[in-house]
Amino acid sequence: MTTEAIKAPVVSPMTRREFLYYIWFGSLAVFGAQTGAALLWFAYPRFKAGTFGGVFEIDVSELPPVDAAPKAFSGGRFWLVNIGDSIKDDPRQPDEWRPTRGVKALYMICVHLGCLYSWVPTNNRFECPCHGSKYLSSGTAVAGPANRNLDVFQMQAVDANGDVIDATEVVNGEGRAVSIEGAAKLLIDTGKRIPGASNPNPFEANA
């Protein structure tokens, strides 16, 4: 590296013309930034309501009965589970993430490596066919390589007038169930996913 061969920089005073050039280049830079931002906005995907990535509206009449098997909504890629006392007091449920009464929208994708888990009525739980992760209908992982509970989608329960009665909040590190008392519809935003609580050592009693 021959540093001597390169001229040492000289600092001389700026003329008006030079200054105006800098203003021009500055404006070009700002214009470039504005264009860049506009192009990002242009290219960012937007989701229509009713398509995955957007908001799904489910009438309460479409919900599975309380404590019944979860119901699949493939268009939105979620299961709706209606948690009542039976699921809440399930002896297999670890206390740390014991659910409250209400509805959860569980994302259909297994948190391990992305397969779609199935509902197995005989065992009354979700089981993933790829590597054997198993989840209760509350979404808690109870066996297998999954290291967190199932992800849920942000959900709002609205009444007949469209007012929000209840919405998903993060409790115990994951989204809690939404109470549907007095609700007419559920709005499930598949663009907003709340990851399940970290659960590295699934509780394996009665699994």
């Binding site: 590296m1 540093t3 390169i6 001229k7 040492a8 920089p9 000289v10 001389s12 700026m14 003329t15 013309r17 030079e18 050039y21 800098y22 021009w24 070009l28 506009a38 192009l39 906005w41 242009f42 290219a43 937007r46 229509k48």
Partner: protein, 552 residues
């Protein structure tokens, strides 16, 4: 141990000079590398307008850099002003780049299938931020590119810059003209609306005329992907538009520009001795160096033209979107895009093989070989009166043929259809659809009583109808004098017009335009029933929210 020693020349500099000067030194070094030869002070002296030092560092980016390698280091003073080039060549390249960039962004949201292309257009226009602006820029840029390329060719012809040694440059230029025209034409098809489908069907139909018939049919299927344009055709033209033609365009622009620089920009004809080309031998006192003078001018032109394009596309120019392409219905008055009207005009003259293929082939053939035929040594305007007159004549012929290509010439149907088509055209919204929906008061209105209509909108529309009927009446009188049936051709005897407005659904009205003429149904006949003679009815529906004035 050697692996624990961290050696940075930069840190040595910092140690010997201090942080400030070391940073400045490093930045200077980086700038010199990026610009391929200009350090900070060189750039600053350029921007200040200082005369170039000797040796001139400002030529180094040309010699050592990639981007400026083909660009000339200096221009002759006489080629630098608006005359003689009018910057048309530069603008052609600008618009080509402009189209590539806007086109690439539109490609993010477009799939070339008849099942979704139109819905993609609706998506771009209703659900993509800046979508309409991007599309309008792309379409406006396409029209500008065709205009600018043609003006560039015209200028080159007028200044005789196609002559020796620049003949092949002209040749590649004609190739680029063809590339531009086909690029524009192939892009026209992509929105898959009625305008796209039928305009391109008209243009491509000439291919069918190739003789012998077997060859013509073969090429027709090759070009259209089927007997009519369908999913195969759309995909082929899409690939033509985004891949093949841009590649050919880029390659030939490279060849073309290389030749331009090789021979140097031609000087204005009046300053050169006849028969000589002195463009490459620029005396030192006649030089304008690229850095900074030409660079500044080019940057300025870029800024001004971009500003103009964005302004025009936002406030004035909006690309239309007609209804979904319907292969079973050709709209009345469908035309080719304006730069192909001349061909459509020729097709109205006679046999489509000669007028659609041979004649345009001869025209382009002449363009291609012009510099090899027209070998007169002088470029001066005074010495080329014949050539320049012929050029002017060719432009006049093009203009006339283009007029003949419009629907006004020889494609008019009967007067009753034409009058109604003026009000509710099939190729664009038209005066009726652009009127205020609230003014369409339910009722039946006669055009003869336009003045007693409930509001100005209805009066205006009915008066337009009445005017058309008066004109048709005059033509009918002429027909009678000439011994023809009065209500034939553009004539209608005793024509009467009506507009019937009904409520149909929430926010939807049904409007019937009815024209009757001599021998038509009497007052007690049910209007618009099959079997009524000398009556023409056309119905349209108009919704409160359809807003035909908003642009597309």
């Amino acid at each position: 141990m050697a692996i624990w020693k961290f050696h940075s020349p930069f840190l040595d500099e910092v140690k010997s000079k201090g942080l400030g000067p070391a940073l400045l030194f490093k930045t200077n070094e980086v700038v010199e590398r990026i610009t391929a030869g200009l350090d900070i002070e060189d750039i600053r002296s350029m921007l200040r307008g200082d005369p170039a030092p000797k040796p001139n560092p400002r030529v180094r980016p040309h010699a050592d850099g990639f981007w400026l390698h083909m660009r000339p280091t200096y221009y002759h003073n006489l080629t630098v002003g608006v005359y003689p080039t009018f910057r048309m060549g530069w603008l052609s390249t600008y618009f080509f780049a402009f189209e590539i960039i806007t086109g690439l962004f539109l490609m993010v949201f477009y799939t070339p299938s008849p099942l979704v292309a139109y819905e993609n257009m609706l998506n771009i226009l209703s659900n993509v931020p800046f979508g309409r602006l991007m599309r309008d820029l792309h379409k406006l840029g396409a029209e500008m590119m065709v205009i600018v390329v043609c003006l560039h060719m015209l200028r080159t012809f007028i200044t005789g810059s196609y002559k020796k040694p620049r003949q092949f440059t002209w040749f590649t230029g004609v190739i680029l003209l063809l590339v531009t025209l086909v690029l524009s034409f192939s892009g026209y098809l992509l929105p898959w609306d009625q305008l796209a489908l039928w305009a391109v069907t008209i243009g491509a139909s000439m291919v069918e005329a190739i003789q012998p018939q077997a060859v013509g049919d073969f090429v027709n299927l090759l070009v259209r992907g089927g007997p009519q344009f369908n999913e195969g055709g759309l995909l082929r033209w899409y690939l033509l538009h985004v891949l093949l033609l841009p590649i050919i365009g880029i390659v030939f622009t490279g060849v073309h520009y290389y030749k331009v620089v090789l021979h140097g920009h031609g000087l204005p004809p009046e300053v050169e001795p006849v028969g000589e080309d002195t463009a490459k031998r620029t005396p030192v006192d006649q030089r304008t160096y690229f850095m900074p003078d030409i660079l500044t001018r080019e940057l300025l032109l870029f800024c001004v033209v971009t500003a103009g394009m964005v302004f025009a596309a936002t406030f004035f120019y909006h690309a239309p979107l007609e209804p979904h392409a319907d292969p079973l219905v050709t709209p009345l008055h469908t035309t080719a895009p304006w730069y192909f009207l001349w061909i459509q005009g020729m097709l109205k003259i006679g046999d489509k093989f000669f007028w659609g293929l041979i004649a345009p082939g001869i025209a382009f053939g002449i363009l291609f070989v012009l510099p090899y035929l027209e070998v007169g040594p002088s470029r001066r305007y005074g010495d080329r009166r014949v050539g320049l007159s012929l050029g002017l004549f060719a432009i006049a012929v093009l203009a006339i043929l283009s007029y003949m290509g419009t629907p006004r010439y020889a494609v008019l149907s009967s007067a009753d259809q034409e009058i109604v088509a003026e009000l509710i055209p099939q190729t664009h919204p038209g005066p009726f659809r652009q009127s205020n929906w609230q003014d369409f008061v339910v009722g039946e209105y006669a055009s003869a009583e336009a003045h007693s209509a409930p509001n100005a909108t209805l009066t205006r529309l009915l008066e337009q109808m009445e005017e058309g009927l008066h004109h048709a009446e005059a033509v009918a009188a002429e027909n009678e004098r000439a011994g023809r049936a009065p209500s034939s051709g553009a004539g209608l005897k005793d024509g009467e017009g009506f507009m019937i407005i009904e409520d149909w659904q929430t926010g939807l009205k049904r409007v019937t335009f009815r024209i009757i003429w001599e021998g038509g149904p009497g007052a007690d006949a049910t209007p618009c029933t099959a079997g009524n003679k000398n009556e023409f009815c056309q119905t349209t529906y108009i919704h409160r929210d359809s807003n035909y004035r908003q642009g597309p």
